[in-house]
C-alpha cells in the first residue's frame, strides 16, 4: 500500500506540492486529477523518487522510502510521450527491465506483453516508425514487464487524439485490472480518470482538495470549482438551486452543480424554459435554455426532437446528475 504523509516539494523555494496526504490500497488505481500546473506531475515524480521531498514522507507497506533511489523502488513510470528508447527496437524496449534483472524467457514474456497491448508482431520495429498510440502501448508493455509494485502514469493518454484516447483508456483499464496492478495516474482529463481509475484525488494549487472512491467524489464534489473541473456544467445557488432541486423532487439546498445532461427535454418535465441555442451532436441535441427563476442552463434533447430557438420547451431534471451542497460552499 502506498501512503503519502504531509508530502511537500518545492523548486528553488517555490512550493509545487503542499502537504499532500494520500493512501492507495494494493490493486487499486488512483487518479490524481488537476489542471496543468497544479503540481500533480511533481507529486508523481516525488513518488518515483525523481524529486526530493521538502518535508513529509512517501512509504510503501509502512516502510519509508526516503533515500531509496528510483531504481530500487519498484515503481515503473509511464511518461506522457512514452519516452521509448529510440535506439532500441520495440522488443528490446519492452524487454528492458527483464534484461536488467537477467530474467529467463525474455523473448516469450515480451511476446506475451506485446500481445496484451495489442501489438503482437511489432517486436522488430523501431519506435520512430510507430504512431503515437502504438508508442504508448509499447511504453505500457515496457512498464508492465518490470512487474512494478506500483505503476506511475503521467498523463498517459493526453498526447493522443480523442477517439484513440477513449479506446486506449478502456484498454488501459482492462489491462491494469487484469494484471491486478496498483497504479497512480495523473491526468487533467476527468473522463480519462473516470474510465481508468477506482479512486480519485483532486489537486489544486499544490494541495489535494478531495479524494475518495471515484463515484463518491464524482457525486459529491467538495466545492463548486472541483465540480466544474469534474465536468459539471454549471453551479446554481439559492433560489435557482431550490428551483432545480424542486423539479428533481429533492429538498432545497444552498447550492447545486448540474451536469450538462441533467436537464432533458421531456413533455412531462416540471420546468419550462425558452430555447436560446441548439446544436446537434451525433448522439443528442445540445441546448442552452433560459429557465425563469433559474437563469441560463444547459439541456439535452433526443436526436428526433426538434426544439426551435425561441420556442419554449419542457424540461425534466435527472436527480442522479446533480451534486448538492447542504451547507453553502465557498463562492468561486
Amino acid at each position: 500500500m502506498l501512503s503519502l504523509r504531509d508530502v511537500s516539494v518545492s523548486y528553488d523555494g517555490v512550493p509545487a506540492v503542499v502537504d499532500v496526504d494520500l493512501e492507495l490500497p494494493d490493486g487499486e488505481v488512483l487518479a490524481v486529477l488537476g489542471p496543468s500546473g497544479c503540481g500533480k506531475s511533481t507529486l508523481l515524480r516525488a513518488v518515483a523518487g525523481l524529486e526530493p521531498l521538502t518535508s513529509g514522507s512517501v512509504s510503501w507497506d509502512g516502510a519509508d522510502l526516503r533515500g531509496v533511489p528510483t531504481h530500487r523502488r519498484g515503481f515503473a513510470l509511464l511518461f506522457q510521450d512514452g519516452q521509448l528508447f529510440g535506439h532500441l527496437t520495440v522488443a528490446r524496449n519492452v524487454g528492458y527491465a527483464l534484461r536488467l534483472r537477467r530474467a529467463p524467457n525474455v523473448r516469450e514474456r515480451v511476446a506475451e506483453l506485446l500481445e496484451l497491448v495489442g501489438l503482437a508482431g511489432y517486436g522488430d520495429r523501431l519506435p520512430a516508425t510507430l504512431s503515437g498510440g502504438e508508442r504508448q502501448r509499447v511504453a505500457l508493455a515496457r512498464a508492465l514487464a518490470a512487474e512494478p509494485r506500483l505503476l506511475l502514469l503521467d498523463e498517459p493518454l493526453s498526447a493522443l487524439d480523442a477517439g484513440l484516447r477513449e479506446r486506449l483508456a478502456a484498454d488501459l483499464r482492462t489491462i491494469l485490472r487484469g494484471a491486478g496492478t496498483t497504479a497512480l495516474m495523473v491526468t487533467h482529463d476527468h473522463e480519462e480518470a473516470f474510465t481508468v481509475a477506482d479512486r480519485l484525488a483532486v489537486m489544486r494549487a499544490g494541495g489535494v482538495v478531495q479524494d475518495g472512491p471515484i463515484a463518491e467524489v464524482w457525486r459529491e464534489p467538495v466545492d463548486p470549482e472541483t465540480a466544474l473541473f469534474l465536468g459539471y456544467a454549471r453551479v446554481f445557488r439559492d433560489d435557482a438551486a431550490a428551483a432545480i432541486l424542486a423539479a428533481a423532487g429533492r429538498p432545497p439546498a444552498p447550492a447545486v452543480a448540474v451536469r450538462r445532461s441533467a436537464l432533458t427535454v421531456d413533455a412531462h418535465g416540471q420546468l419550462t424554459g425558452v430555447v436560446l441555442s441548439s446544436r446537434a451532436t451525433p448522439e443528442q441535441i445540445r441546448l442552452v435554455v433560459d429557465v425563469p427563476g433559474v437563469g441560463e442552463a444547459d439541456a439535452v434533447a433526443p436526436l428526433d426532437s426538434h426544439p426551435a430557438v425561441g420556442q419554449p420547451a419542457r424540461l425534466a431534471v435527472d436527480s442522479g446528475r446533480l451534486a448538492v451542497w447542504v451547507t453553502a460552499p465557498a463562492p468561486l
Binding site: 528510483t70 531504481h71 510521450d81 528508447f85 529510440g86 535506439h87 528492458y96 536488467l100 523501431l126
Partner: protein, 547 residues
C-alpha cells in the same frame, strides 16, 4: 537529369565553396607534396615509396601512433565524460567560469606545456618519484591534458540538451545509475561521443610536440617521423609513403566513425533541461572531474608559479617585461603586439571556419532521399575531417610548392595563416554542429516551408535557434584552435607580425632567465585570454527560440 541526380548536383553546388577551398588549401598542397615523393628525379617510382612501408622502423612508428592515440582517446573520453556531466548537467557556483577555463589547456603551446609537465614529473620535480618522465605514460598524460577539453565541449553540448526523462523512465524500470548511463544515456549521446572520439583520435595521432617533448625522443609517431623526413632529411619519398599511410589510416578511421555515428533514430528530442544541483549520486562523476582537474591544473599551476618567479623571488617582472621586446632583444615584437596579431588572426580563422563549417554541417545533415545521395553526404562529411589527419609539415611545404604561381600565387598572402588555421578548426566546428543539426526533425523545416518560407528562411527559423548555442561553442573552439595553433603557423611565412605562440617559442628557445620567465608569463596571458574570450562567449546567452 533525373530528380535524384539533380538533387545530388544541387547538394554539391551548395558544397562547392567549401569544397573549392578544401581543394586549393588542402588537397592541392598535399597531392603536390606526395607526388614529389612518387616522382623522385622526374620518374614515376611508386615501388620505392611502397618499399618504405616495408621498413621495420615504419611498422614500429605506425604501431606506436595507433596505440598511443587510441589510449589517449580512451582516457580523454573516460575523464572527459564525468566532467561533461558535472559541467553541463549540474549547477553550482562558478560552473561557467570552470567551463571557460577548461579550454585554456587547449591553446597552450606544446613546447611550454612540455616544459611545465616536465618540471612536475622530471627527475627533480615534485612528481619525479613517479618516474614517468620520458615514458609513454607521460605522453598519454600530455595527450589527455590537451584533448579532454574537446570531449567535454562536444559531448557536454549534446548532453546539456538531452531529455532527462528517458533516463528517468529507465530508472523507474529498475535501472541503476550506471545501467541508465550504459543503456540509455550513452546510446543517446553516441553521435557526439563518436564525433568527439574521432576528433580527439586525430589530434592524438598527429600530436607532435607532446610525443617529442614528453617521450624523451625514445618514441616516434607517424607525425614526428614525417617531420624528420621532410624538414630535416628532405627524404620526400619516405615522407610521401608515410603521408599516404597517414591518409589511409585516417580515412579508415573516418569511415568507421561514420558507421558508428549512424543511429537508428537521429531525431532526438532536444530540450533545455534544467541543470540540477549536485547530490551524493554525483560523487563518481565528481571524482573523475577532480582527477582531470588535477591533471590539467598541475602543469598550469607550475606554469603560473614559474611565470611569477625571477631571481629566486616572487615578482611581476616577467609580466611587466611583456610590453618590451625582451631582455636581450630576443623578440621582434612586444608580446602585447603579438597578442593583438593572434586575436586578429583568430578572428579571421573563426569566421572562416564557422562559415565553412555551417555550410558543410547543413549539407551533410539534410535527410537524403536516396542511397547514393546519402553516400555523397557522408563522403562530404568525412572529407572535411581530413585536414586534421594530415601532417602540418606536409601541408606547410605543400603550400610552398603548389600555391607558388598565378592564379594561385598565395603562399605570401596574409590570409594563408588564418585559412590554414580555419582548416584545422573546421572538423571541430563540423563535429560540434552535425550531431545537433542531425537531431532537428525534418518535419519542422517542412512545416516552415508549407507556411511559405524559402529554404534559407526555413533554415533560419528552424535550425538557427537549435544551432545557436552549439555554434557559439564551435566559435569558441575555432577561436581557441587558432589562438594556440603553432604547427601550421610556424611553417608559413609570418612577416613582421608573429602570433603569440610563435613569440613564446622564440622566447623559450633562448638562454637568459628573463626570457624563460617571459615565455611562461606570455603563455599564462595566452591561456587567460582564451578563457576570458570563452567566458564572454558563454555569457552571450543566445535567446533560444527567439528567431
Amino acid at each position: 537529369m533525373s530528380p535524384a541526380v539533380s538533387r545530388i548536383a544541387r547538394l554539391l553546388g551548395v558544397a562547392a565553396i567549401p569544397l573549392a577551398i578544401l581543394g586549393v588549401f588542402f588537397a592541392l598542397p598535399v597531392v603536390g607534396m606526395v607526388s614529389r615523393g612518387f616522382w623522385a628525379d622526374g620518374t614515376f617510382d611508386p615501388g620505392a615509396v611502397l618499399g618504405v612501408l616495408g621498413r621495420p622502423r615504419v611498422h614500429r612508428v605506425l604501431w606506436f601512433t595507433l596505440w598511443s592515440a587510441s589510449l589517449g582517446t580512451l582516457l580523454s573520453l573516460a575523464l572527459g565524460l564525468p566532467a561533461a556531466h558535472v559541467l553541463y548537467r549540474r549547477r553550482f557556483p562558478g560552473v561557467s567560469v570552470l567551463r571557460a577555463a577548461l579550454l585554456a589547456p587547449f591553446v597552450l603551446p606544446t613546447v611550454v606545456v612540455g616544459v611545465a609537465f616536465r618540471q612536475l614529473v622530471g627527475e627533480s620535480g615534485p612528481l619525479g618519484f613517479l618516474g614517468i618522465d620520458g615514458s609513454p605514460i607521460a605522453i598519454i598524460a600530455g595527450l589527455v591534458f590537451f584533448n579532454a577539453s574537446v570531449v567535454i565541449r562536444i559531448v557536454g553540448g549534446a548532453w546539456e540538451s538531452l531529455d532527462p526523462r528517458a533516463g528517468e523512465a529507465a530508472a523507474a524500470l529498475g535501472a541503476g545509475p550506471w545501467q541508465v548511463l550504459r543503456t540509455v544515456t550513452l546510446p543517446a549521446l553516441r553521435p557526439s561521443l563518436v564525433s568527439a572520439a574521432s576528433v580527439v583520435f586525430l589530434f592524438c595521432a598527429t600530436a607532435f610536440g607532446v610525443v617529442l617533448t614528453l617521450g624523451g625522443l625514445a618514441y616516434s609517431s607517424v607525425e614526428t617521423e614525417i617531420y624528420l623526413l621532410t624538414a630535416n632529411l628532405l627524404d620526400l619519398q619516405a615522407a610521401a609513403a608515410l603521408s599516404v599511410l597517414q591518409l589511409v589510416v585516417v580515412t579508415g578511421l573516418l569511415l568507421a566513425a561514420a558507421r558508428a555515428r549512424r543511429t537508428p533514430d537521429p531525431a532526438l528530442s532536444r530540450i533545455l533541461a534544467r541543470p540540477r544541483r549536485l547530490s551524493s549520486g554525483d560523487l563518481p562523476a565528481l571524482g573523475g572531474t577532480a582527477l582531470l582537474g588535477l591533471l590539467v591544473a598541475g602543469p598550469i599551476l607550475a606554469l603560473v608559479a614559474g611565470s611569477l618567479r625571477h631571481d629566486d623571488a616572487w615578482t611581476l617582472a616577467n609580466y611587466r617585461a611583456l610590453a618590451t621586446t625582451g631582455e636581450q632583444q630576443a623578440l621582434i615584437a612586444p608580446v602585447t603586439d603579438a597578442l593583438v596579431t593572434s586575436l586578429r588572426t583568430a578572428f579571421d580563422a573563426t569566421w572562416m571556419s564557422l562559415l565553412l563549417g555551417l555550410t558543410v554541417a547543413v549539407v551533410v545533415t539534410r535527410r537524403s532521399r536516396s542511397v547514393s545521395e546519402r553516400r555523397v553526404r557522408s563522403v562530404l562529411d568525412g572529407v572535411f575531417m581530413l585536414p586534421l589527419g594530415v601532417s602540418a609539415v606536409t601541408l606547410g611545404f605543400g603550400f610552398l610548392i603548389t600555391l607558388d604561381r598565378p592564379p594561385l600565387d598565395l603562399r605570401d598572402s596574409p590570409l594563408l595563416v588564418p585559412i590554414a588555421q580555419a582548416l584545422v578548426a573546421l572538423p571541430l566546428v563540423v563535429r560540434t554542429l552535425v550531431p545537433v543539426l542531425a537531431g532537428v526533425d525534418d518535419r519542422l523545416r517542412q512545416a516552415a516551408a508549407t507556411l511559405g518560407a524559402a529554404p534559407w528562411r526555413a533554415s533560419l527559423t528552424v535550425d538557427l535557434p537549435v544551432v545557436a548555442r552549439p555554434l557559439l561553442a564551435a566559435a569558441g573552439f575555432a577561436f581557441a584552435v587558432s589562438l594556440g595553433e603553432f604547427g601550421a603557423t610556424s611553417f608559413l611565412a609570418r612577416d613582421e607580425h608573429p602570433t603569440l605562440p610563435v613569440v613564446i617559442f622564440g622566447l623559450i628557445g633562448h638562454p637568459g632567465p628573463m626570457n624563460y620567465g617571459m615565455a611562461l608569463a606570455a603563455s599564462v596571458v595566452l591561456a587567460s585570454t582564451t578563457a576570458a574570450v570563452m567566458l564572454a562567449v558563454e555569457r552571450l546567452h543566445v535567446p533560444v527560440g527567439s528567431f
